[in-house]
């Protein structure tokens, strides 16, 4: 449960709260940019990041993102993370 998953930042959703939309394996998820917010947030749009429990923990390059995703898919961790994201959404709605 300590593994991050690569996701690409697609848009800033809340500048003040440092929140952004990320695409993770085809799934859209709002994430916090707090760990990488040491630069203007707009510069992060289009960047690949390692996302862990809803936080972009590090900026990585596209090749690293592809390789990491492949390793996570092999381990079954990618699907586990996507399932957890879906569960999180249900928890918000109280439908779990």
């Amino acid at each position: 449960m300590c593994l991050g998953i690569p996701g690409q930042i697609t848009a800033i959703t809340d500048e003040a709260r440092e929140m952004a939309m990320a695409e993770v394996s085809g799934v859209q998820r709002e994430v916090s940019l707090a760990p990488v917010a040491d630069r203007p947030l707009g510069e992060l749009v289009g960047q690949w990041t390692l996302i862990h429990v809803g936080f972009a923990m590090a900026i990585i390059d596209e090749d690293e993102a592809a390789r990491t995703l492949e390793a996570l898919r092999d381990l079954g961790e990618a699907q586990e993370t996507l399932d957890a994201m879906a569960e999180g959404q249900k928890a918000l709605e109280g439908t779990q």
Binding site: M1, C2, A34, H52, V53, G54, E64, L75
Partner: protein, 379 residues
């Protein structure tokens, strides 16, 4: 199990396996007298089994599976306390899904949910905070669990709650740290490890310097590693090269993700929100000095221990002995293999886990079970 021909770069993998074999011969490592390398991180344990690296490498290498799986080291008493909080009237208890099946003395969180407690699996502490914003009449508690990769996210959520003045959100903080249990293992006079593979994503947060003591005080090599099979093979070769040359250093195989000094924003959030506990209980390892984090008094309003009077925040933290016959402690410290546990595959399976190492895919016993087969089949 994968074969080396299925690796992304089979030629590189074969070259590394040959290099590992050559170094094993040079050191004189063999099955009867192996070089013991502990992979600290549960994610690495899972990867080693998934890719069959333990079988691909020279037989002079023995992987010892470290304590780096947060749910595996979670004591039964902490699970009991989670259930105690979750069953209070008005509480919505939120947790990562990984913790749902860990057995406590009154069953697991999953069983408490079935009995009617409002327990919800979240992906992020931010989900828990959002549930608090949407349910102002309820008390939302987030179970803060995990090592330094996860620790900053809980801290950021607490800071956000404080900034926004959210009153109905608190954290049951059970965050733990990687270096301290390694110090405890190295201080054991029976310790026979030759080197370590250091965690990748934990190190992305804390950097490589927190491991300096391993090389400087205990004279053991440690190599921080990525999660691809090639990363792990390369790291094993780097540890062996240090052993062969009589060096003990902290090396970083995963520099493309792990900065030497970690992630400054995450480290600042950790320092702001948490203080170290004098000691913390680890399942199978006992109390370890300074290995757990609590929430600082400045954020007491968000500390579930203070709010509910449980855990280390109560007068005395409870200790519950492990179930009869459970050998998780011996497996965790590398004294025995999972298959040597009397309960392995009998009283303890992934469907009905007795000990925590059988719960998570990152636990050594679950990995043996999944990739090694039933009792007796695993080597």
């Amino acid at each position: 199990m994968k074969h080396v021909t299925e690796f992304r770069d089979p030629a590189l993998a074969k070259g590394l396996l040959a290099e590992i074999a050559r170094l094993c011969e040079q050191i004189g490592a063999r099955r009867e007298k192996p070089v013991q390398i502990m992979e600290i991180c549960g994610g690495h344990t899972h990867a080693i089994f998934r890719f069959g690296l333990d079988k691909l490498v020279h037989q002079g290498i023995e992987f010892i599976h470290g304590p780096g799986c947060p749910v595996c080291v979670l004591p039964m008493s902490r699970v009991d306390e989670c259930i105690e909080i979750a069953e209070r009237p008005g509480v919505i208890f939120t947790t990562f899904g990984d913790a749902m099946r860990v057995p406590g003395t009154r069953g697991s969180l999953m069983q408490a949910k079935a009995r009617g407690a409002d327990i919800r699996m979240v992906y992020s502490p931010l989900d828990a905070l959002e549930i608090a914003r949407r349910n102002l009449e309820r008390e939302i508690v987030f179970f803060g669990l995990g090592f330094e990769t996860t620790t900053p996210s809980t801290a950021f959520a607490i800071q956000a709650a404080a900034r926004e003045g959210v009153k109905n959100f608190s954290v049951f903080c059970n965050h733990i740290t990687v270096p301290e249990p390694i110090r405890a293992l190295l201080s054991d006079p029976h310790m026979s490890l030759n080197g370590f593979i250091g965690p990748g994503h934990v190190s992305m947060v804390i950097g490589t310097h927190p491991y300096d003591f391993i090389a400087q005080e205990f004279r053991k090599p440690i190599v921080v590693a990525g999660f691809e099979p090639i990363d792990l093979l390369q790291s094993v070769a780097m540890v062996l090269r240090q052993v062969a040359e009589g060096r003990a250093e902290v090396e970083n195989q995963y520099a493309r993700v792990v900065p030497e000094h970690g992630n400054p924003a995450s480290l600042a959030a950790i320092a702001d929100v948490y203080a170290r506990r004098p000691s913390f209980e680890w399942r199978g390892l006992g109390e370890i000095d300074a290995s757990g984090l609590r929430i600082r008094p400045a954020y007491a309003a968000f500390d579930a221990e203070e709010k509910f009077g449980v855990g280390y925040g109560a007068t005395v933290a409870r200790h519950v002995p492990e179930p009869e016959g459970c050998a998780c402690g011996a497996v965790m410290t590398g004294r025995i293999k999972p298959t040597a546990c009397p309960q392995y595959g009998l009283g303890c399976t992934p469907e009905t886990p007795l000990g925590a190492l059988m719960v998570s895919s990152e636990g050594a016993c679950a990995a043996y079970w999944q990739y090694g087969g039933a009792r007796g089949a695993a080597a």
